[in-house]
């Protein structure tokens, strides 16, 4: 059916079409949505039709484009809002200062707040790995800056398909995981390094489930004086809108509508224009100039232009301040001639900031931008009436009620549980002899989800700004081991530290989204307490497949329930986050992936705890009970090729006990080291403890408690910690643990060179630490070849 008769040139000074929606049939409306690629459903189109009928006119193309963008999943969270509200309403935490904006603002000390944001940049990174991940970093940095905070750290949890994926496993139009991996890492490297913000934490995960849909989640943390925190809303009518930074172009058109649909085989061709292009060297002066103007008290409101572009930002900033806005669209500086008004209005070009300024401060603000060579133009003003209007050479080309424009639809989607948690028949996995245990450990050490990521982190500048006091790799400078979390000392005149970690175990979430989420939170917490920090707040980036599929919506519901339960149990508010749906290619969705970014505080960085064993002779203490639960484990995957079984049980009350116990250990400074056990179980955790100092080993004797040796060593029981301390303080540590209701026992001592584990007195593993370390060190590089 041709629908060209529904579009009519309006004869204005700018090319604007009238779209004849009045009286259009259902079929015609679907055709319009498809033709314009605005992604609105028939029901949504009917709402639009109704609104304009009341206005007594047909919409213009620019108005429909604006609605398509504002009502996209990415912008208005129409599928997730309902479940989020059910779980997170009416709960308040004193430390969370602002949780409703682009990034969460949380109390750091009496005078300072830290700002955290975490979001996804999945779809663009699948199509253009380098540009996609780079702009992901840029976007989250802007989210932090627009709260008035100086960014101090970038974190980046990444998820790719298996590095050994065969050509036939890769959906048409999708690149090989190796290619996507190197592009994404290079994008983060080049952008993060250039803007001078250290990339301090992150994770790299490889699973078949991400072959068609890699995930690039990017987070940032900033610090600000409380008095400099600024809102993303206007102060009142009469204020002036100044648009600063990069020019507006055709890159990033339909970015959010693209992010709100499944990928297809021609995505690489068709959707390339949706991928924004970043420029770190425009960004860096924007950070300086915006923060300078803000600290001088010259700004009333500030918001970055990300997904949603000028359209969403000018409307939302005004409405959140109880006002409306008029934008002179012909004043926007362009990258190229000939952009149509609607393209300018919805473009998601990078490196742009909107500030709202009192008329008397305009000159001072413009001067600061000029000084930093940041292009800035006055593009509009704030008005009392809650409408957004766009003008072109004085002629109105867009006029919508803001309540209508910003009130996107909200869906209560159908959920349908799928089967989870199958028991594993132990008999299906042959009982290994000693040699096989040693071999299994080596295979685990080179597993892409366990082996060292040092080669990735060395390409990120993780200590620019000279505030990274626990780096991603610590210990011997030339042969370091992994740290559990990064710690920064953000202020010059305070010893208080901020610890950052990011975790999720996608396999666990696949077999049980609810418990998998708890396990991600539990691991985040154990990572933070391992470095001596007290968990303080969390942010999440929830990645899923298509929410119109009931199984996916059920996964989402389970994850949110887990999050909600855990944040109450641990007294850690969720301060922000994002939901990314439609991570699907040809009906193949990703594992449910609730990435957790967690922030902890440490009163005095002198109480940091190393992750690795320090001194031969120290006692090694195991906290928690080894249950032999192998469901979802890397070991089971190694043996059966599948992620399967029942997700290990998480006892939230025990995690809370660990927080209190470790808090006291850190305050008393009684530990030599602390590490948590996760992928690969206790055996891998102990090996990692031996990796920070040259020639360290350990001698361990575990009690089997009738558990199979392989399940005992490699099962991924939750709530497990490995500590070391001088032998004379071991008793104190044990008593302290018991006083917090935790199971604790001395299981061995730190030695030199050899890694030895016995079970019930019989040697199970005896291996040189050097061999384990070398296997672990070189595995990723080998697999990337």
């Amino acid at each position: 059916m041709s629908i060209s008769h529904l579009f009519e040139e309006m004869g204005l000074s700018a090319p604007v079409m009238r779209v004849k929606l009045m009286g259009a049939s259902d079929q015609e409306m679907e055709g319009i949505s498809r033709e314009m690629a605005i992604g609105l459903s028939l029901d949504e189109m009917k709402r639009v039709q109704e609104y304009f009928a009341k206005e007594g006119r047909d919409p213009r193309d620019i108005e429909l484009e604006a609605l398509g963008q504002a009502w996209s999943e990415h912008c208005c969270y129409k599928s997730s809002k309902y479940i989020m509200k059910q779980n997170f309403m009416n709960r308040s935490f004193p430390q969370a200062l602002i949780t409703s904006e682009d990034a969460g603002v949380v109390e750091f000390d009496d005078d300072h707040a830290y700002v955290v944001g975490l979001e996804s940049h999945n779809h663009p990174s699948a199509i253009g790995p380098y540009g996609g991940s780079a702009t992901g970093v840029g976007g989250i940095i802007r989210d932090v800056v627009c709260m008035g905070a100086q960014p101090i750290a970038v974190i980046d949890p990444l998820f790719f398909g298996s590095l050994d994926a065969r050509e036939e496993e890769i959906p048409e139009g999708i690149n090989h995981p190796k290619y996507i991996f190197s592009g994404v890492v290079a994008g983060i490297r080049d952008y993060g390094n250039r803007i001078g913000i250290p990339t301090v934490a992150g994770s790299v995960n490889f699973h078949r489930g991400y072959t068609g849909n890699p995930l690039v989640n990017v987070g940032a943390v900033g610090i600000a004086k409380k008095k400099h925190i600024i809102r993303s809303r206007v102060g009142g009518p009469g204020e002036i809108y100044i648009l600063a930074g990069g020019r507006t172009g055709r890159d990033g058109i339909h970015g959010v509508t693209f992010a709100s649909a499944d990928l297809s085989s021609d995505s690489e061709e068709k959707d390339r224009g949706s991928v924004q292009l970043g420029d770190p060297i425009v960004k860096e002066p924007i950070i300086h100039s915006c923060l300078e103007a803000n600290e001088m008290g010259l700004l009333r409101g500030m918001k970055d232009l990300g997904g949603g572009g000028l359209s969403c930002v000018s409307g939302e900033m005004a409405l959140d301040g109880g006002c409306g806005a008029i934008i002179h669209l012909d004043r926007i500086p362009l990258k190229e001639e000939g952009l149509k008004p609607w393209e300018i209005w919805v473009s998601e070009s990078q490196e742009r900031m909107m500030v709202s300024v009192l008329p008397r401060d305009v000159d001072a603000v413009m001067h600061i931008f000029k000084k930093w060579d940041v292009e800035a133009v006055i593009i509009g003003e704030v008005v009392p009436e809650k409408h957004v209007k766009a003008l072109w050479e004085g002629e109105e080309i867009l006029n919508m009620d803001l309540d209508f424009f910003t009130a996107g639809p909200e869906y209560c989607r159908v959920t349908l549980p799928r089967e989870v948690s199958r028991e594993i028949l132990e008999a299906d996995i042959p009982l290994p002899d000693r040699g096989e245990l040693e071999a299994s450990l080596l295979v685990l050490m080179e597993d892409p989800n366990i082996c060292s990521r040092e080669m990735v982190f060395r390409t990120y500048d993780h200590e620019v700004r000279a505030r990274t006091v626990v780096k991603p790799y610590v210990g011997d400078p030339f042969s370091p081991g992994p740290s559990d979390a990064a710690v920064l000392k953000p202020l010059e005149d305070s010893w208080k530290g901020i610890a950052i970690t990011t975790d999720v175990n996608p396999g666990m979430c696949e077999i049980d989204p609810y418990r998998g989420t708890l396990s991600a939170l539990d691991e985040s917490i154990r990572n933070l307490v391992s470095v001596g920090a007290r968990p303080h707040s969390l942010t999440d980036c929830l990645n899923f497949g298509n929410p119109e599929r009931p199984h996916v919506m059920w996964e989402f519901k389970e994850v949110v329930a887990g999050l909600s339960e855990a944040c109450i149990a641990f007294d850690t508010p969720v301060t922000g986050g994002n939901v990314s749906f439609y991570n699907e290619t040809k009906g193949e969705g990703i594992f449910p992936t609730p990435t957790i970014g967690m922030v902890g505080l440490i009163e005095d960085i002198d109480n940091r705890i190393p992750s690795q064993f320090q001194h031969p002779g120290d006692s090694i203490i195991l906290i928690g009970r080894l249950t032999g639960e192998v469901g979802g484990s890397e070991y089971l995957k190694q043996k059966t090729g599948k992620i399967q079984g029942k997700c290990p049980e998480i006892r939230l009350s025990e995690t809370a006990d660990i927080i209190r116990f470790m808090g006291e250990c850190s305050n008393e400074n009684i530990l030599s080291s602390a590490n948590d056990a996760s992928e690969g179980g206790i055996a891998v955790a102990l090996a990692e403890c031996c990796f920070g100092e040259p020639a360290t080993g350990c001698q361990i004797d575990l009690l089997s408690g009738k558990i199979r040796s392989d399940f005992l060593l490699f099962g991924e029981s939750q709530n497990i910690m490995v500590l070391s301390c001088p032998p004379e303080t071991a008793e104190t540590v044990l008593e302290l643990a018991e006083s917090h209701g935790l199971m604790a026992s001395t299981v061995g001592k730190v030695t030199s060179n050899t890694f030895e584990i016995a079970i019930d007195g019989n040697t199970a593993i005896s291996q040189s630490t050097g061999k384990l370390k070398q296997t672990w060190d070189t595995a990723l590089e080998d697999q990337l070849r």
Binding site: I281, R465, A466, P477
Partner: protein, 279 residues
């Protein structure tokens, strides 16, 4: 003069991004550092009280970063802008015996400017060396051990005993010092003879022929930093400002007791002492 009267110009443009920690280093030692945007020296787009002159300062510092994105060549754009508007002022500054220093991108800028190695005078017309891509092909953010091999010429390191080894991290993609190939041997010989090699990468036993990762970029003779003939102009690839305190060392927990002084602090103290004594 007194240390608090020492004015340090921390020069920046778009893409410089180690300026805060460089500023902090001088401030902590009691000097008076100031952030100065290149445009304030050029007198472009500046308001009444914002214009600055190089003459107002005793130390000129080129901080690390990615000035102008390091597009074209690391440091090339920053250097070209300085050359266009400030070469006379800079020449006088150096010839007055004031101190000029650069770390990482700062070093790259100084080489592009022709003030290092400065084989034949204060500032050469064309660059006399280049800081080339690391042999690994990667950006390398890692700790390095630096042996101080300068016999006393460099005013930025003269408080460091010769032969002492310091743990100072590097973070660069282009740090391999290359001198013109046709006369390289003679030029290296001159650098050593004239006591203008300041730091060399070394291994734990102090060997200065150690390879990757001890030498992160493949620089010949493991050269990490050099100074001018007079010793007042100094550039190095690693970042002493990142280890001003011990708590930012990669192996912070090994020496928990004792001094909080990090291995990079002495670089800043040396040059301040030099200025105090000289002016």
């Amino acid at each position: 003069m007194k240390v608090e009267d020492i004015r340090v110009c921390i020069l920046r443009m778009e893409g410089t991004n180690c300026e805060q920690e460089t500023f902090d280093a001088f401030k902590r030692l009691g000097a008076s550092p100031e952030f100065v945007h290149l445009k304030q020296l050029e007198g472009r787009d500046v308001g009444g009280d914002e214009a600055r002159s190089l003459d107002d300062y005793h130390i000129l510092m080129f901080p690390g970063g990615f000035s102008a994105g390091d597009y074209i060549r690391a440091g090339a754009i920053f250097a070209a802008r300085i050359k266009a508007s400030l070469s006379g002022d800079l020449r006088k500054f150096i010839e007055d015996g004031k101190a000029v220093g650069g770390f990482c991108n700062g070093f790259q800028i100084m080489v592009e400017l022709g003030i290092l190695p400065g084989m034949d005078g204060t500032m050469s017309e064309h660059p006399e060396a280049v800081l080339h891509s690391n042999d690994s092909g990667f950006f390398e953010c890692r700790p390095t051990l630096l042996k101080h091999t300068n016999r006393g010429r460099c005013v930025w390191t003269r408080d460091i005993p010769i032969g002492s080894i310091r743990l100072i991290p590097c973070a660069h993609a282009e740090g391999k010092l290359i001198l013109p190939l046709e006369e390289a041997d003679a030029l290296y010989e001159r650098l050593f003879d004239e006591d203008r090699v300041v730091f060399q990468y070394c291994d734990r036993s102090g060997e200065t022929n150690a390879e990757y990762p001890y030498n992160p970029n493949g620089s010949r003779f493991n050269i990490a930093g050099i100074c001018s003939e007079r010793g007042n102009v100094f550039g190095m690839m690693p970042h002493p400002e990142r280890v001003f305190y011990r708590h930012t060392h990669a192996d912070w927990y090994r020496n928990k007791v004792g001094s909080e002084e990090g291995d990079g602090q002495v670089v800043f103290r040396s040059v301040l002492n030099y200025i105090v004594e000289t002016f």
